[in-house]
Symmetry: C2
Subunit: 316 residues, 2 copies
Amino acid sequence: MENIEVSKALKKIAPNIHRTPIHTSSWLNSQLDAAVFFKCENFQRMGAFKIRGALHAIHHLTDKQKENGVVTHSSGNFAQALALASKSLSIPCYVVMPSNAPQVKQNAVLDYGAEIILCEPTNQAREKTAESVSQKTGATFIHPSNDLNVIIGQGTATFELIEDIEDLDAIMVPVGGGGLIAGAVLANKELGNKVEIIGAEPFEVDDAYQSLKANKIQFNKTINTVADGLKTHLGDINFPIIKDDVSKIIRVEENEIIDAMRILWERLKLVVEPSAAVALAAVIKNKKEFRKKRIGVLLSGGNIDLSKIGELFVEK
Amino acid sequence: MENIEVSKALKKIAPNIHRTPIHTSSWLNSQLDAAVFFKCENFQRMGAFKIRGALHAIHHLTDKQKENGVVTHSSGNFAQALALASKSLSIPCYVVMPSNAPQVKQNAVLDYGAEIILCEPTNQAREKTAESVSQKTGATFIHPSNDLNVIIGQGTATFELIEDIEDLDAIMVPVGGGGLIAGAVLANKELGNKVEIIGAEPFEVDDAYQSLKANKIQFNKTINTVADGLKTHLGDINFPIIKDDVSKIIRVEENEIIDAMRILWERLKLVVEPSAAVALAAVIKNKKEFRKKRIGVLLSGGNIDLSKIGELFVEK
């Protein structure tokens, strides 16, 4: 793990990503008696940090591999990310999606020029279909979060945040598949390990919390959360990185996620997805611990179905 | 009108405002075959451009006037703007609000430390109450849009936009009371009159369109629009500025406002209020005219009741 350089990854992918801005709220800072810095990956291309890892993974392919393209299975942000990254770098892209994936998500992938292969909506069918596409086309399989080059790519978000904001005490990262937080660990290491990396998870999908506790990858028993980007589990490549250097995972309730999301929308005027709000919810939940501290918060993305938000923000 | 300097106003108010960022969307630009630059006043303090004019008006008071404070009547953004500006500059502030003003708006004004005087919900009662508060307290009345110092202050938003983005062909400005667009005219004049200033209005409240046509201030017959910030009418101070130098007013339908708002939320991840979306709706409506052009769009604010947005964004 000695020669991993997130800075090198950033140089490679920089032409194809936005260096996203960092927003603050004086109202929120005074409420928390702390300084919170939001890294706005909702403003990233395709609306989430995932384009970073997708681009970096493709950069590491050989010319021959690039010619044959890439394949992944995802119904979420990574499908769009790999499709857009492939388009940006002019390589073929195949996305395996469950047949019940919303039309809007299918359209987004098609818009970026990728080919969609539908399968039965089970994990087994997804994996099998992706494997068969890979065999047929020669496309390289890229996992959304359990792939070292993807992880390093996601680390560039944290790298930029630490570069842009001096003297951060901690960075709060939402944990789903584990790619973003494992990348945060690697970026922090390269920059001198001066920041505490903390994970944030809904109680409803607390597999990372349980995995750290058991020192072994655990799986979610329930996935009944509004934070639909965090339903996946850690993998054998990111877990070893996470378990050594993430100080802890803070778990939050569903209503705390909605409250945090409301603050981000109402006060900061940012459209963020619930998964991103989980990180702010964790800061608010442990606000005593963060008093007088400088805290970075990774707002992972802003892809949300607007026709569904009426249900979330009911009158109080 | 020769010595009006928006640049001077900007220097005065700069310590108390944000220089708001300019956002773009490559997706939108390719859809329109144009380059659109959004001036994000939704990220301004109190969530709208109005703090600029409020601050500038207060700066122009004598010391004695400042001691006695300011008064306005408003149930919208200007009430919050004057309250926050007064707080920032440590002067007393009185806000006359109709007794049916939503509690959330009253609370926002109280949060900024202003005193609220409730009145009957009629224009006549508002004006009379404001006058009586002024007489009793010695506070100076500040009109939300028909006040030259307010207008010059609002002009700083356009001044920043023209300074930040080279070679703009046009700037699209939503028109309500007329302060923002009159300020845009003054800023543009000071910077060499190189940009076309265009107004945007809902058909439902097209008083500015009708006023330009009649060459005389006209009033709205209906106010049945989602763009609640644009229901007011022009005044004798801003109308002369507007009628000479605004090239035209583009009117848009209610569904076009919602569609534009959806783009701003979904694609640009910006929480904006319907009034702000009116300006983008006008660009989209006249897209043939703007092909290959560089267009600035003033996103006037982002104050919206989230519990109401479910109704706006219904599934298509």
